[in-house]
Every structure is written in C-alpha cells, then in structure tokens.
C-alpha cells in the first residue's frame, strides 16, 4: 500500500465511516499498540520510523513523545496528569491538506490520537480546530461518537487499563492559535499569545502539565506505522525522509490540487505532472514550497526533492508541503505585500519586533508600490528581515513572515527597484 493517508479518500464518496475505515485495516494499529506494546515501545517505534512533524517544523514525533516524563509513582503530582492535543488549526496561507483529512477520514486522526495518548499515558486529549472548519467539526464530532459507541474511547479500551476521552475544541479563528504554546493558552481560555520557552510543552503544557501537541497529518501516519511496521514505512520515502506526504499546488497551474506522494518526490514531478504545469499563457517565475512562511524558490530548483533537508539546502523550508506558484504575470512585490498584511494582522502583538516590525514592513511595501519608495527602503526591509528573524521573538510567526520577503528581495530585486525608479509602467502585471 503506497498511499496510506488517502486510501479511503475517493472523489465519489466523501466520508469514511467507522465501518469503512475498519474495512481497510483501520484501528488495527491501535489494537496492536494497546494489547501488545508497552507505552515506551510505541514511542520507540514512532521514533525509529523517522516520522517528522507535518505542521511545518519537522521535529521528530517519537522524540517529542519521549520527552514527556515516564509515568512513575515518584513523579510529582502535577506531572501525573498529562494531555495530548491534535493541532487542527490549519491556517497557513496556501495550506489545504489537514482539512481534507479531517473532513473525509476523521477516524484516521482519532486512531493516531489514541495511540499517541497511550504512548504518553494521557487520559484526556483535545482536537483543537479552527472555527472556520465547520464541516470538519461536524464530521469529527460524528466520528468521535462512532468511536465511543464502539468502545474505542472511554474506560478500559479493548479491555486494557487505558482510559481516554477525546474532546473537540472549536476555536474562533486566529493564525497564532496554531503555534504550539499559543494554542495551549487558547485551550486554557486565554488570549492566544505564545509562551516563553523553556519550559517546553512536553514538560509543562496545558495547566502546567506535560503535553504533546501534534499536527493532524502527523497523527494520521501513526496508526499505519504501528500496524504495518517501520520497514514498510521506510520503504515509502524516496529521499532522506520516510513515509508519504500530502503535497498540494495552488496558483495558475492547469490542475491545482492535493496528492499523497512519497516523501522526497521531486518538485518538478509535483508541479509539471500532477498539477499539469502552468496554465497556457503563464510562465513559472518562482514558488513558495510550503506555504506563505517559506522562502521563494526559482524554476532552477524544480529538481529539488520535497523532503525536509533537501528543501532546506535549497534555501527554503518544506513547511506544510503545499506549494504556492508565482507566475510571470503576478507582481512578486504585491504578492509579498499580501502575505505581510496577513502576518501583520495575525500577529498577536506579544513581542515588539513582530508587533511593530510587521506593520512597518507593510507600510514600506505599500509606499514602494505607490511609487513613493526610496532605494534606502530596500536596505530597511533587509534590516527588518534580520531584526524579525530567528532568535528575536517568542515564536516563529515573525521569522516565518520574513522568509518570503528576504527571498523576494534576493530573487526579485529588480521588481522592487522598478517601482522605486518609477518605470514600472513597462510591467505587464495585472
């Protein structure tokens, strides 16, 4: 089986019920974990599988689980309770992968949560979902009821000593809620600002207790890994990373869409074969490989493989794995402005570089586009990409916001300059 994540997702039926899910092997990973494996063995298998976080950061999932203190009687009280959280707050501009998994095969996520919660010995788990995903919320609620009725949630699951409840928490919409520690604050009913680290959530998360937060797509891999094994999982990747990944393409291509492909699939194959290449009359000028908070890459990077290290080596990030295409008739400066407006609006305002730096970035870009820019503004923008970069902020929002800007300044500098010197009339942009 080479497409585990989407095996139940077909254009002609749009929901996978519990019965459908079990027909293709669903919940067998859970059964194996709960009846044959110790919690630490589950964690070890996920670690050995090489599964890395599909939300964008690419951190080892098994390693994250292993950082939760083992449950022993000499642990202090506050660490006896732990929580497991599925991050279903997909809101990265250009990303549309988790919605598909939530709407069409929610049991796959639920199975992943049960196994993950068992591994860290959490008895309560939350699915934190953005408020706009109304259909996904309905489908997940239904699937949770099915799983509960089947005895997969509740007390003594499959006759074991393990108890688990999963609650769906629907949020009210804010990009920052997808950031791990901001999500925890949101779940606690607070304004969703990130927390200073350390301590990390695995040591002190929800209400100060050890907490694991994993992305939806990440968790959808878990049941398959436990059921089919590590060797099978390793056989799925083409490059350095393992398993499959949902890759998407949006923009002016012939067939924008989403496909489950081996990790390490070359970008060219995704853009030219699956997405069908550019629409007639448009040329590929560049692309963001993994959503709005990743650096632009150029057509010369089309042969790069979509895995974490290969994309990083090319100067960007795999991010969410959903590519946004820049065509030759879209102005890269205006495209960057759109993304910076998004980041400025969605900044939580907690730390100064982000709160002040992003609106400043927007103003500079607006001035440049309005023909009121000066060449020094490009230096100021470059300075901002450093000041808002890694190490100066509580979370990754501002550094992420700087990625498309810094790479646009590098690759499309002439576009910025043409606005400034005032002969942008020759541009054919809409």
């Amino acid at each position: 089986m080479d497409k585990p994540l989407t095996q139940n997702i077909h254009p002609d039926h749009d929901f996978t019920s519990l019965a459908d899910y079990q027909k293709t092997g669903g919940y067998r990973g859970m059964r194996k974990a709960l009846t044959e494996l110790q919690p630490h063995e589950v964690t070890q298998q996920i670690k050995d599988s090489g599964l890395r976080g599909r939300g964008g950061a690419g951190f080892s999932t098994g390693l994250k689980w292993s950082l939760v203190p083992q449950k022993t009687s000499d642990l202090p009280d506050f660490q006896q309770t732990r929580y497991f959280v599925a991050n279903a707050d997909e809101m990265e501009p250009g990303a549309f992968k988790d919605r598909l998994l939530l709407e069409q095969d929610p049991h796959q996520l639920i199975e992943g949560i049960i196994i993950g919660a068992y591994a860290i010995q959490a008895n309560i788990a939350y699915i934190f979902m953005r408020g706009e995903y109304r259909l996904a919320a309905k489908r997940v609620t239904y699937a949770l009821q099915e799983a509960r009725a089947q005895g997969y949630l509740g007390e003594h699951i499959l006759g074991s000593d393990f108890n688990l409840e999963i609650y769906l928490h629907t949020s009210a919409g804010r990009y920052i809620c997808g950031e791990e520690t901001a999500l925890l604050n949101a779940l606690e009913g607070k304004r969703s600002t990130p927390r200073a680290r350390p301590p990390h959530a695995v040591a002190s998360g929800l209400w100060g207790r050890p907490t694991v937060v994993n992305n939806v797509e990440t968790l959808c891999n878990v049941g398959h890994i436990i059921h089919y094994g590590i060797d099978w999982y390793h056989s799925l990747g083409l490059g350095a990373d393992h398993g499959t990944k949902l890759f998407g393409v949006s923009g002016r291509v012939k067939h924008p869409g989403l496909w489950e492909l081996p990790m390490g699939t070359p970008i060219r194959e995704i853009v030219e074969e699956y997405a069908g290449g550019m629409l007639d009359g448009y040329q590929l000028r560049g692309f963001l490989p993994g959503g709005a908070s990743t650096d632009f890459l150029l057509p010369e990077h089309l042969d790069v493989r979509m895995d974490y290290d290969a994309v990083a080596e090319a100067g960007s990030r795999l991010g969410t794995g959903t590519l946004i295409i820049l065509d030759d008739k879209t102005c890269p400066v205006k495209m960057v402005l759109n993304m910076e407006q998004f980041f400025a609006q969605e900044s939580c305002g907690w730390c100064t570089p982000c709160r002040d730096g992003l609106p400043w970035t927007v103003t500079l870009l607006q001035d440049i586009i309005a023909g009121q820019g000066r060449m020094e503004d490009l230096d100021t923008l470059a300075g901002l990409t450093r000041m808002l970069g890694p190490g100066h902020t509580f979370c990754a929002l501002a550094p992420g916001a700087m990625e498309p800007l810094q790479s646009a300044l590098k690759f499309f500098r002439e576009d910025f300059e043409r606005y400034i010197v005032g002969n942008n009339d020759e541009l054919e942009y809409a």
């Binding site: 809101m91 919409g173 606690e188 929800l206 993304m339």
Partner: protein, 163 residues
Amino acid sequence: MKQTAEKSTSEDLTALEIQEINAIINHYEDHTSVAIEALNIVQKHRRWISDSTLKAVADFLQISLAHLESVATFDNLIYRQPVGNTVIHYCNSVTCWMLGSEQIREHLCQRLHVEPGETSADGQYTILPIVCLGACHRAPAALVGDELKIDLNTDAIDEILKR
C-alpha cells in the same frame, strides 16, 4: 446600536445557552477554558456579542469581564458589533488574492452597497474578509454562513445572493 457603558447591565443567558455551555464545561480542568466556546455558543443564538451579552457570559463563568473581552476582541470570528443574517467571509489570503479575491470583494460590495465590515440595508448580509480558508486549489473561496464556497466568480456570487 452603540451601547454605552452605563447601559450595559447584565442580561441573562437562556436556558438553552446554559445547557449547551454546561455540556462542555467539564471537558476542562479549569472552567475558564470554556470561554471561547461559550462565546461561540451564545453568538450562534444571538448572532453577535453585545457588551451586555459579554457581561452575562463573564458572570456565568465567574471570570472577569476584562479577561473575556481580551479573548473576544482577539479572535476573528467573535463579532463585537451587530452582523446580518448571513456573514460572508471572503478569503483574501495569497492564492485567493492572486486568483481574484479583490474582484469578489468589489462585486459583493457593489451588489450589497456596503464596504467590508458593513451590513446590507436589509440586514441580510455582512461582508468581512477572512484569512486562508484551506481551499487554495479551488480559489477564490469564501465562507458563506457555515458553508464553504469555492471556485468563486461574479456569477457564483450572484447565485449566492439570489437565495
């Protein structure tokens, strides 16, 4: 519809609202956690969160009004001003922007004689921008009430407004 501080005395939550909040309040170690969902529940019944509604929710949850206001003003989907029967959230994030969200906004605003953030004179529709709706392969997209609409163009907008 503007309410002054003096006028904003507390009103009561309805039995149904209380029942719905109580059904989930035990999901959390600390009842403060239910704040956002409580606002979502009450807003579902009242369409928006007035000052007095906010106070009623804060009183019911026994949390400070300032705390609840800090949450209510932070989240994009909590409306602190009156909205119409249906809120149309048009996506203005990058792919939708590239593929025509500005035309969608212009057409909506022109048809309804409003600016973004305003409600049509008949009280039917409120137009608001929203961030990426996760439908970039079918851009431009909008959330019309609870329904995701994709592959939008001016004809599709006319069709939506006809209903």
